[in-house]
């Protein structure tokens, strides 16, 4: 059908509700920006979106993909199989055709892709992305802009909101220069008008998310914004993928909020600067990805001992060592909880999706202040880099004003009281008695004096642990999605939330009594889990980490230690990619059938 075909009414029953579009090219082709534009469009048209990308860990160049899952209703994962593949090169075509569903549509750049395989009823549509873009922009021998040409093409095929999309493009390119914007619009219009003969247009059904003020962005941005809203005004870091975008963002943004973010010479300096600011009475953060966290470990042990509040962000990637720097994994859970010398209690929270990054960061701020201890935000590469659309946070409700308490401390002030949670007296605060405290990493008595007394070390260890015990008691048992009891409970943490929730829905619709939970408070674990687990025949814990020597993933190991429940089983995956829904449902059905 050509461009002149009459458009179907928007609420036609044949409208599609979900579209998974995979863009495969090289990292310099701007395929990420196509994804970003589609993501922003979804946010402003009440649709849901989730993206997934791979990037080579090179400066420029190398194969790269960006996958966008658009949905009229809830979108929980970036899509197992693509409905549409856009291939920029022969290698993109060869490498990604298998990810296209049977009967899917493949747009390929007929200037570069020469060999086509006719298989599985796939519809091939050759479009000369490169030459058509050059022709549209006029005279330039460069093919820059072919991503925008493709965006125009997709806009026409899926009958997306052209007006809003061009507005988003103008906002982005208008900042750069008039020339760039003009070229982008020419490329877009050429793609939009390109006659596509072999398929019907596939209009997307209107979005159903009627929340006002929806925004679309990635997880790292939401962590950074959550930290600002939570009162963080000092940070320090060192560049490492995929954490770096948080430090770049805070470096530029914090000065506007009377705060600062300092780039340091190494990870050890970064955590030390942040602890210096924490000691000085500010709410401070540092962050990194796996290897960087290993370097910070000693100073974080100090923070537990000295009872300094600090927020530590870890954007997990494939490990160990340099590992898979641009791929997702959840193998730093034990490092986050136990990665220090000595008994060094700390709080660990894990966001489940992009929106949750904001609220997790906010809670991390509250807990760090309340318990005067390190709080980890354990996110991962998938959440960090993908786009989602969701309702803008209500700052009326969530804003936390930064505080610096330099009030005079009286005669009863003790830095480490055994019967209370530590409240430090930051430098600059006067002491009515003229006695000033030393904050220390040596075991100390209530006044901060070094003490090797055996009973004192036991009492102080109890004090530091009991803060977390008190927190665990205050935490609600996670809410169950699906069956409240029955044959199977699927337990996840972090970014497996989406595929687990969708798997639960599919299993339920296949007639199984299945429920699922996502645990944000991975340490300390909330109370009530044991009782909850008892309501199910099987407990399945999907994790993107290895099953290790004893056959269980990292959270599963902790859950077994906490509940002694032998029904807890693991599914583990370390392939640098998230779980597919099918992988979880297959395992779940096998488990249920074996009962």
């Amino acid at each position: 059908m050509s461009q002149t075909a009459t458009q179907k009414p928007a609420d036609s029953a044949s409208d599609i509700r979900n579209a998974v579009i995979r863009l495969a090219g090289n990292s310099q082709d701007g395929i990420q920006s196509i994804g970003a534009f589609l993501g922003q469009l979804a946010g402003s048209t009440a649709q849901e979106v989730m993206t997934y990308m791979t990037i080579p860990s090179t400066i420029s160049g190398g194969p790269s993909i960006f996958q966008v899952h658009l949905g009229s209703g809830e979108v929980l994962h970036p899509g197992d199989r693509a409905d549409t593949l856009v291939a920029f090169y022969q290698h993109s075509y060869d490498g990604h055709l298998s990810t296209l569903k049977d009967g899917g549509i493949c747009f390929y750049d007929s200037d570069s892709v020469e060999e086509i395989k006719n298989e599985r009823g796939i519809i091939h549509i050759g479009v000369p992305f490169t030459s058509a873009t050059i022709e549209a922009i006029g005279g330039s021998a460069k093919s820059r802009g072919k991503n925008i040409f493709v965006l125009g093409l997709l806009c026409a095929v899926y009958q997306l909101d052209r007006e809003k999309l061009t507005k988003i493009i103008s906002r982005k390119f208008g900042k750069k220069s008039e020339d760039i914007l003009r070229n982008a619009m020419l490329a877009f219009d050429a793609g939009y008008a390109w006659p596509v003969h072999d398929i019907e247009h596939m209009p997307m059904a209107p979005g159903e998310n009627d929340a006002e003020n929806r925004i679309s962005t990635d997880g790292n941005t939401m962590i950074a914004l959550g930290l600002i809203a939570g009162g963080v005004r000092f940070g320090a870091g060192y560049p490492i993928t995929p954490w770096t975008t948080i430090m770049e963002f805070l470096r530029s943004e914090l000065p506007k909020y009377d705060g600062m973010f300092i780039q340091c010479e190494d990870e050890l300096a970064a955590v030390s600067l942040a602890l210096g600011a924490a000691y000085s009475g500010h709410l401070a953060i540092t962050g990194s990805s796996g290897p960087g966290l290993a370097l910070k470990a000693e100073a974080l042990g100090y923070a537990s001992m000295a009872e300094l509040p600090i927020i530590v962000v870890n954007i997990q990637r494939g490990g160990p060592s340099t590992g898979l720097p641009t791929s997702v994994e959840q193998s730093d859970l034990m490092q986050a909880i136990y990665g220090s010398h000595g008994d060094a209690p700390r709080i660990v929270l894990a966001p489940k999706n992009v929106e949750d990054c904001f609220y997790t960061a906010l809670e991390a701020c509250q807990l760090a202040k309340k318990y005067s201890t390190p709080v980890f935000i354990l996110s991962d590469q998938a959440i960090a880099t993908r786009l989602e659309a969701f309702e803008e946070p209500d700052l009326e409700k969530h804003w936390q004003e930064p505080e610096l308490d330099l009030s005079e401390r009286g005669a009863d002030f003790k830095p480490y009281p055994l019967d209370k949670i530590t409240r430090h007296s930051p430098p600059g605060s006067r002491s009515s008695e003229g006695k000033y405290p030393v904050v220390t990493g040596l075991e100390h008595d209530e006044w901060g004096h070094p003490s090797g007394n055996p009973a004192n070390h036991q009492k102080m260890t109890d004090k530091r642990r009991n803060k977390l015990v008190a927190l665990a008691e205050s935490l609600p048992t996670p809410e169950v999605h699906g069956a409240e009891n029955g044959s199977l409970l699927i337990v996840g943490w972090g970014s497996t939330y989406g595929p687990i929730k969708e798997a639960t829905d599919r299993l339920m619709s296949n007639g199984h009594a299945v429920g699922s939970i996502n645990i944000r408070h991975v340490h300390p674990l909330p109370n009530g889990l044991g009782e909850l687990f008892d309501k199910y025949d099987h407990i399945l814990v999907p994790e993107m980490n290895d099953s290790g020597m004893y056959g269980y993933g990292q959270l599963a190991t902790l859950l077994r230690a906490k509940t002694c429940n032998p029904a807890i089983k693991s599914i583990n995956k370390v392939q640098g990619i998230s779980f597919r829904v099918l992988e979880i449902t297959n395992e779940a059905e096998a488990l249920i059938a074996g009962n």
Binding site: L268, A269, G276, Y302, L406, G428, Y436, L442, H449
Partner: protein
């Protein structure tokens, strides 16, 4: 990050007010004199009691904060400077003093010294250099002279020691001095000049370890027959890196005094300039509304 400097003039502190726990140092350790000199200078400069912030890493000399009755923090090995950087940048109202030894500053913390210095962070740093690891009981340190025996070099040190003054000069520090714990008057003067200097000020202080390295600094101690040779500030160009490097070539026993002194914008000032600029562009908008505006741009 706003300036919280109080306008009230400080009452003069007494030594009694500044003293805390009795030092755990060995009898006649050079560090006692450093502590006494610090008390003197802080008293003389009239720094408000609560604005004094004493920072240290790990080592004999790094026990310093326990012996001063002032806000203090005893951190981990080698990281006193980055910790102090966080304090200094986030709290410009404080007077930040860092104390530590040669192992803490030149070995495990060597990288931080270079970076805190080149960034010109506003703080004063006293390296109490005794040419040996004392707290762990006599191992070779980065400044242990060649041939000197220790428990890790029973045949005598074989690794060439660092030249602390040459390293400091090349680090980008804006105030660099060298003094001797047995020369109290000179030490007082160097500490005072370091404290009033805006930016990164470092004083290499030879402080004898009477337990593992007795007599190590006698050649620059007139009471022990040595020569305490001073830098002649009349002829020395204090703003010349090359001249400071020349001075650093011979440290056996070498000269004492200010090797290098210059004015350069501090890290504190440069960061604050950005904060002020960023906020002046925002005008009267509250921080909360600023964040709201940010969200609106993401719709």
């Amino acid at each position: 990050m706003s300036d919280t400097t109080s306008a009230a003039p400080a009452e003069k502190l007494t030594k009694k007010q500044l003293k805390a726990d009795h030092p755990t140092w060995c009898p006649a350790c050079g560090d006692f004199a450093v502590l006494a000199s610090f008390f003197n200078v802080v008293q003389k400069l009239g720094i408000p009691h609560e604005k004094i912030c004493v920072v240290a890493g790990i080592g004999c000399s790094s026990r310093f904060p326990y012996f001063v009755n002032a806000h203090g923090i005893h951190f981990i090995h080698g990281r006193a400077l980055p910790l102090a950087t966080g304090i200094s940048l986030s709290r410009p109202d404080l007077h930040v003093f860092v104390f530590g030894g040669d192992g803490d500053g030149f070995s495990i913390g060597g990288n931080h010294l270079n970076h805190a210095a080149r960034k010109n962070v506003n703080l004063s740093y006293v390296v109490m250099d005794n040419y040996v690891y004392g707290l762990t009981k006599n191992q070779t340190s980065p400044t242990t002279p060649l041939g000197q025996r220790s428990k890790t070099d029973p045949r005598g040190a074989i690794d060439r020691p660092i030249n602390p003054m040459a390293q400091l000069v090349s680090s980008g520090a804006t105030f660099i001095a060298r003094t001797h714990a047995a020369q109290v008057k000179h030490m007082n003067e160097m500490f005072e000049r370091a404290i009033v200097h805006p930016g990164f000020a470092v004083v290499e202080t030879l402080s004898e370890c009477t337990m593992f390295n007795p007599g190590s600094f006698d050649d620059s101690n007139p009471r022990k027959g040595g020569v305490f040779d001073l830098v002649d500030e009349e002829t020395q160009d204090l703003e010349s890196i090359a001249a400071a490097m020349d001075l650093s070539q011979d440290l056996n026993p070498g000269k004492f005094g200010v090797y290098y002194e210059t004015k350069r914008p501090t890290k504190n000032e440069l960061e604050r300039e950005w904060l002020t600029d960023a906020q002046s562009k925002i005008g009267d908008l509250s921080q909360r509304d600023l964040l709201r505006q940010r969200f609106a741009s993401m719709r």
